[in-house]
């Protein structure tokens, strides 16, 4: 060895840290995640571009054109008010993604803070926080969401809040469980020894080490949030007719399926299924992407 005394040979494969390159590389090796990510990216782009690409205004009714089957002029047909379903589906991407993101972000932030504080400080704080979560989880979640949405009043913001609240406990438990594992890690002691006050050890050193399962859960919860939102809207407790939300659109068409107007419910239903599937497919690959040791 000609290495200078006291020097260590550099491993040949010491990768340069570039998150984007890693992500692309990972997606290439993981076609299922790639498919899921593609679906969600398309839905997101469609939602963003809806005002530009939708051929009709989603709220303009035209009784003369009611219940047209899919064909020229109306790609997915029209509903009983003569609204263009294709345009409404495009606009719906915007609303449903907003609900999914909003609900997940609110639940994630609330849940992570509650779980982290409970796990880190323990004692009575832990008891109060986690027993409150028990109470939340004691109700069937859809029924609880119905109750919250009904109490707050049916609109988009309250729908997001209702879906978020029934999910807080999931994140709180995940965060607390991970935190109990990493709390006594040597690097936490080392960070404390480097002069970090306890709250900063928690925020900067411990919580980032707990996030992988949280994000995996988030991707599954996003799909689930869309389902719940559609369900609540379907029974009239979420977004209301005539907003172009997929659940509402399914509800509008339900009564017409028996008379052969299948397209009114079918296309928005298909969108719900696709979006939910997209989020679920992302979940697995996310684990590999977020954990530096598994790259």
């Amino acid at each position: 060895m000609s290495a200078p005394r006291g020097a260590v040979a550099t491993p040949a494969t010491l990768p340069v840290w570039t998150a984007a390159a890693d992500a692309i590389d990972l997606l290439k090796r993981n076609p299922i995640t790639l498919a899921g990510a593609a679906v969600i990216v398309v839905v997101a782009l469609v939602g963003l571009a809806a005002p530009a690409i939708a051929p009709y205004d989603p709220l303009t009714t035209n009784p003369a054109d009611a219940l047209r089957p899919p064909g020229a002029g109306h790609l997915m047909g029209t509903d009983e008010f003569g609204e263009d379903i294709w345009s409404r589906v495009l606009w719906g991407a915007r609303i449903d993604l907003a609900i999914a993101l909003g609900a997940v972000v609110v639940a994630l932030v609330l849940g992570c803070v509650i779980g982290a504080v409970a796990g880190f400080w323990g004692g009575w704080i832990d008891e109060v926080a986690m027993r409150s979560m028990d109470v939340l989880q004691a109700f069937p979640s859809f029924i609880l969401a119905m109750g919250i949405a009904a109490a707050l009043g049916p609109n988009l913001r309250n729908l997001i809040l209702a879906i978020a609240l029934i999910n807080v406990a999931v994140y709180a438990r995940l965060m607390r469980a991970r935190l109990l594992v990493v709390k006594h890690a040597l690097y936490a002691t080392a960070a404390r020894g480097a002069g970090n006050p306890p709250w900063r050890v928690l925020l900067v050193h411990l919580m980032p080490n707990c996030l992988t399962p949280i994000f995996v859960q988030s991707s599954l919860q996003s799909g689930w949030a869309i389902l719940t939102a559609a369900g609540l809207s379907f029974i009239g407790l979420g977004v209301r007719i005539p907003e172009p939300e997929w659940g509402v659109m399914v509800a509008i068409g339900v009564a017409r399926i028996t008379v052969g107007a299948w397209w009114v419910s079918f296309y928005p239903g298909l969108c719900i299924a696709l979006a939910v599937m997209g989020f679920n497919l992302i979940g697995d690959g996310l684990q590999d992407l977020l954990d530096p040791q598994r790259r």
Binding site: V8, L14, V16, L186, Y187, A194, G195, P197, H205, N209
Partner: protein, 328 residues
């Protein structure tokens, strides 16, 4: 000078309260390396953690003082203590990889400390970080900066830890078995690094180890610990020339020696369970010199010069009723 006086630490367990440190006295002279040796479980790490006030419940400091520049660290508020930790006293640990945060690259951890204690940010922090890594003799500091801990070898991790510890220019370094988890060849490199940095920066070092060879190599002074008590403290040369306490002598006899065909002799028995401490001197059940008195009361620390001209008046301490017997 860092002085530990009469430090007592207890742990509350399901089986009652045990005393892990019994009035430990320890002096770290400025700019010197002091060794702290003893078997596993005798309280070496607890001592270092207590000095940093990093003991977690159920551990509790029950008494004593830790004086740094005349200031009692145990009397400081948590906030004041946060400035001392890292800023005045830094600590490196036995498992270098586990002491680095696995989700952040080295750069993030280094610049974080530099911002915290020295107010550096951005490019200045990055440059200083690279300089520190270079100082810890890491090859290609620019690449190490971007690496995650799991991409580095154990030796490299310990060098990063040393860079992190020195980032805030502490005056005291507590090194808790810094080489135990490393390969023998890497151990030597890390020791050389610590030695050169210590001399260069005039660091006051507490080296916790159970490797007597390492003590002879690096330390100026040694304290020997047994069951939460300092049983002997002396300048290194004096201790190796003439160990006084029967436990120290046992440790010496249990070393492998070059050029000797004799098998190393072990110390019979094992360290006592903290829940069932023997009465009197805790070493008496294993001690070849033990007599009735030893089981009745513990010896108190005794200052001796041992009549050793090489120690040139440097005080040494021994804690044994009968240390004079059987000393060569």
């Amino acid at each position: 000078m860092l002085e530990v006086q009469d430090l007592t630490v207890t742990f509350h367990t399901g089986r009652g309260t045990v005393t892990a440190l019994h009035g430990v006295d320890l002096t770290l002279p400025t700019g010197r390396v002091t060794g702290l040796v003893g078997e596993s479980g005798c309280g070496k790490t607890v001592t270092a953690l207590a000095v940093m006030r990093l003991l977690r419940p159920p551990g509790e400091i029950r008494g004593g003082r830790v004086l740094l520049g005349g200031q009692n660290l145990l009397a400081l508020s948590e906030r004041e203590m946060d400035r001392v930790r890292g800023g005045c006293i830094a600590m490196i640990f036995q498992q270098p990889r586990a002491s680095l945060n696995p989700v952040f690259p080295v750069a993030a951890q280094l610049t974080h400390v530099l911002r915290l204690h020295r107010g550096l940010s951005g490019r200045a922090a990055w440059a200083e970080g690279e300089a520190l890594l270079a100082r810890a003799q890491l090859p290609r500091p620019d690449r190490v900066m971007r690496a995650y801990p799991h991409q580095l070898s154990g030796g490299m991790c310990q060098r990063v830890m040393i860079a992190l510890a020195l980032a805030c220019r502490p005056s005291v370094l507590l090194a808790d078995e810094p080489t135990t988890a490393l390969d023998v060849t890497v151990q030597l490199q890390i020791i050389e690094l610590l030695k050169s940095l210590q001399q260069e920066l005039g660091l006051t070092v507490l080296l916790i180890t159970h490797d007597l060879g390492l003590v002879a190599e690096m330390c100026d002074f040694v304290s020997v610990m047994y069951a939460g008590r300092i049983v002997e403290a002396a300048p290194v040369s004096a201790l190796f020339r003439r160990p006084l306490h029967p436990y120290t002598r046992g440790l010496m006899a249990s070393r492998m020696r070059a050029g000797s065909r004799a098998l190393p002799a072990g110390i019979p028995g094992r360290i006592p369970d903290l829940h069932q401490m023997p009465a009197g001197c805790p070493f008496h059940p294993r001690c070849p010199l033990a007599q009735g008195l030893c089981a009745e009361r513990d010896a108190s620390p005794e200052t001796v010069d041992g009549g050793d001209p090489a120690a040139s008046g440097a005080a040494r301490m021994v804690r044994c009723h009968f240390w004079g017997r059987g000393v060569a």
